[in-house]
Amino acid sequence: MQLSVVSKTIGLLLMVFSLTQIPPILIDFIYSEGEYLSFVISFVLTLIGGFALWRPYRNIKKDFHLRDGVLIVVCFWLVLSLFGTLPFLLTESINDLTFSGAFFESMSGLTTTGSTVLSQLDELPKSILYYRQQLQWLGGMGIIVLAVAILPLLGVGGMELYHAESSGISKDRMTPKLRHTAIALWKIYVSLTALCAIGYFLSGMTLFDAVGHSFSTVAIGGFSTHDGSIGYFNSLSIEVIAMFFMFLAGINFSLHFVAWNNRSLMNYLKDSEFKTYALILVITAIVVLIFLSINAEYDSSSETIRHSLFQTISIATTTGFVSQKFSGWPAAIPVFLIMVSFVGACVGSTGGGIKVVRILVMFRLGMKEIKKFIRPSAQVSVKLNQTSLTDKTIISVLGFFSLYAISFVIILMLLMFIGLDQVSAYSATAATMNNLGPGLGQVAENYGALSDSAKWVLSFSMLIGRLEVLTIIALFHKAFWRN
């Protein structure tokens, strides 16, 4: 472990990210709400913090290795969340916000979870609201991916970082140079965001809301500038646009890249993961639709279709926008939706969860076992996109799943020992680990009422989900620290 390199890199990244405190200052000048001082102070403190970490080791030119990369990524998420709390703590517009609450909010933003401890959002200054949306947008594509795209000086070390942060079962590159891949990803990301914002604006949102919501939609985050989330607008066209962009953001971005390069949509249809993703969404929506109709929750069938579709896409992609209080829906629907969020979005997207491709691989492995049980001498292979997977890949998927399950159980039990009831604890764990956002029971709308210790556990749970378990758990293994 080379702590000097770790400190230097984190300091460097932090200095760059301190710049993200500047847009809220501009927003504050536009709306003149006198909130700029908290952002100016945050900016200066973050810059100084980064400088202090970077300065002592600035001349060190060592390459970092796998373990340094892992440590940097995890530490940087933590450090950035820590400095991200500053505006929340400095502003006077938010009452009784504890440090743990602010950290929860900051982490929830960056990990694109979308759970909030704040209430009465509509009364908060615009700059604070904008800042929350921006946190989600920065976290959506991954803060390291952003860093790699804009910072060529990370060099080869950038690769170790990228691998430690990026998700997926294969590390296929879109371009030979990592930096170009990162730039391509951000280009797609920015374009989707811009289109989404235009769509929202044309559907009647104010410019502020349109930009703010486009940030949290394409990042699959779920923060809103209103307490009522998307439901506040009560507009069909806004919901359709939200659904469309949540769906797009939940697809592997390398598919978008290929589609754009070839000017063709064929590659989507050839991809097993995409097809499964679409299929899961359709099946879930139908199930929700049927149960809502049976229970006659809404008067008209068009209302039923609208809400079941929106809530399905919002929860299944792990966005967490709410158009209707789905936690109050009858029968098993709320729990069912939370279960679907475990599947989550595709790898290489901005969404959370276990990821569709892993579920698909495990499903096909199950099918293989059944086939082999019926025909013991049959040679069956587990295939993905017409190529069979190596045992190594399958084992890594199963290993990931087991770690995910173990982490889930541990966090769930911790919450219950802290004193949450079963429904709240279960849904809070799922909502944070899958980077979903809203839960059920006590945490259906707001996490503010939870105890500080519960907030810390949940903040940790969000990071586990965002960095896909392995990176974090590795830090707790003694082999990681042994030289």
Binding site: V156, M159, H163, K171, P176, L178, T390
Partner: protein
């Protein structure tokens, strides 16, 4: 440049590593075996694709349509040929480089045309290795020898040994020792790191020194760095494979050569092919045989069999039995570094390194006349022709000391009208000069190229 490398063996992966040093290169590498690609993907900023390198579908997946160059270094010659054909016919790739090992194919150069086998540059390790060994034999005391201007000037790497006139003395005294010899030290490596050498730099024992001099003067300069080494007369070659045979053929008229081959049929074939060489059938590790043939009077022992282990072991044996100097052919890096630490093996010749250097030198050749890749691809010796006049060129008319050269770039010499001029500070560059430079950091090459390019 966008470069596609087919085959991630020793040569392919080493090439990828060196080409990566230049930030302008986008590298993609293809191999059938995923395990060979995983470590590359981990350590290098390149794209890897699993698949059979001659299949169009795999080539397309690797993005061949946008490639500027394809380098086929897969295990089989035929596969490399087909891959180049594919790249040419289906995807119109501009430059195709292939490794061809089999001599049979090389005997008919007319097949390597755009109509038949479109390969722009053939790399043949055996020929390169043979030339390399020939260079070493002709310059006793040198670890590496590179030609410029068809051999008028040579760049030589040597090691400074204790007890010689130059060790622990500043470089400028070298010129006082041999005032009539034109030579210039262009680079000094201490503990594998380049140090800036000027006339006051003190040479230490074990330093690796690169110097430029006229070919006829090389041996005189070398004497300053090493104990006197007479020209090699009696040479022993272990292993009568293609390399052994070719080396023997090149040297048998001027040297006294014995060659040991284990295989009876091969030994007979060697005897038929060679005229003045004594061919011995037997085991190179047979102590009695070596002693009987006078190993203790041997000037140079060359271990050139197919097996790394045998080459290292017989070199050690020969040295212990009294051979003055040993050179071993070693493919694997692990053995090479082990053998380098042993005093019994004097020089390691690595076929893969030579192949890689050959390809790199070719790729790097643009307006530069000649490129030699040194220090495992980190450094380069280049020869550039100065075009243009005072108005169009940034270098014509300026003195060497005034050139805005990046750090780590040294002008070693200038060849003007076939005359060698050493790169002293006050020498003024003229149109048509051939400038020989040493770059300790390959990354600076673009700056150097820009400096010497002619403004239209």
């Amino acid at each position: 440049m966008k470069i596609l490398i087919l085959g991630a063996g020793q040569v392919g992966s080493t090439l990828a590593k060196y080409l990566c040093l230049d930030d302008d290169n986008d590298i993609t590498i293809v191999d059938q075996v995923e395990d060979k690609l995983t470590p590359l993907q981990r350590h290098l900023d390149i794209k890897t694709v699993v698949g059979y390198g001659a299949y169009p579908s795999v080539l397309e997946k690797a993005g061949i349509k946008t490639m500027d160059m394809v380098i086929a270094v897969m295990g089989s010659d035929e596969r490399n040929m087909v891959a180049c054909r594919m790249a040419h016919t289906l995807y119109h790739v501009d430059k195709k480089i292939a490794r061809i090992r089999t001599t049979e194919y090389l005997l008919r150069p007319e097949i390597f045309t755009n109509e038949a086998l479109p390969i722009d540059f053939l790399i043949t390790p055996e020929i390169l290795i043979t030339d390399y060994i020939k260079g070493l034999v002709e310059e006793p005391g040198a670890s590496q020898v590179f030609d410029f201007e068809n051999g008028l000037v040579q760049l030589v790497e040597t090691r400074a040994y204790i007890g010689t006139p130059i060790v622990n003395r500043p470089v400028k005294e070298l010129h006082e020792h041999i005032p009539d010899v034109k030579m210039r030290i262009v680079s000094l490596y201490r503990n594998d790191r380049a140090i800036l050498a000027n006339s006051d730099t003190v040479v230490r024992e074990g330093d690796h020194v690169y110097f430029l001099a006229k070919k006829d003067h090389i041996s005189r300069v070398l004497k300053e760095f090493r104990r006197v080494e007479n020209t090699y007369q009696k040479i022993f070659i272990a292993g009568g494979g293609n390399i052994g045979l070719n080396v023997a053929k090149l040297l048998e008229d001027t040297h006294n050569i014995r060659i040991i081959e284990l295989d009876v049929d091969r030994a007979i074939a060697l005897a038929e092919e060679l005229n003045h060489t004594l061919v011995l059938q037997g085991n190179a590790s047979d102590e009695d045989l070596l002693l009987e043939e006078g190993i203790e009077n041997t000037d140079l022992f060359l271990a050139l069999t197919d097996s790394d282990e045998v080459n290292v072991i017989v070199s050690i044996l020969a040295k212990r039995l009294g051979a003055h100097k040993t050179i071993a052919l070693v493919k694997r890096d692990v053995y090479a570094s082990l053998a380098e630490q042993s005093d019994d093996v004097d020089i390691i010749v690595s076929p893969d390194q030579i192949t890689v250097d050959g390809i790199l030198s070719h790729i790097r050749k643009g307006d530069t006349m000649k490129v030699h890749s040194l220090q495992h691809g980190e450094a380069e010796a280049i020869e550039v022709v100065v075009h243009g006049d005072k108005n169009t060129s940034k270098v014509v008319g300026s003195m060497i000391k005034d050139l805005p050269l990046p750090e780590g770039v040294v002008v070693g010499a200038i060849v003007r009208d076939n005359e060698l001029l050493m790169g002293s500070k006050k020498l003024v560059i003229e149109q048509g000069d051939h400038v020989l430079m040493m770059l300790t950091d390959v990354g600076k090459i673009h700056q150097v190229e820009a400096l010497f390019s002619e403004n239209e």
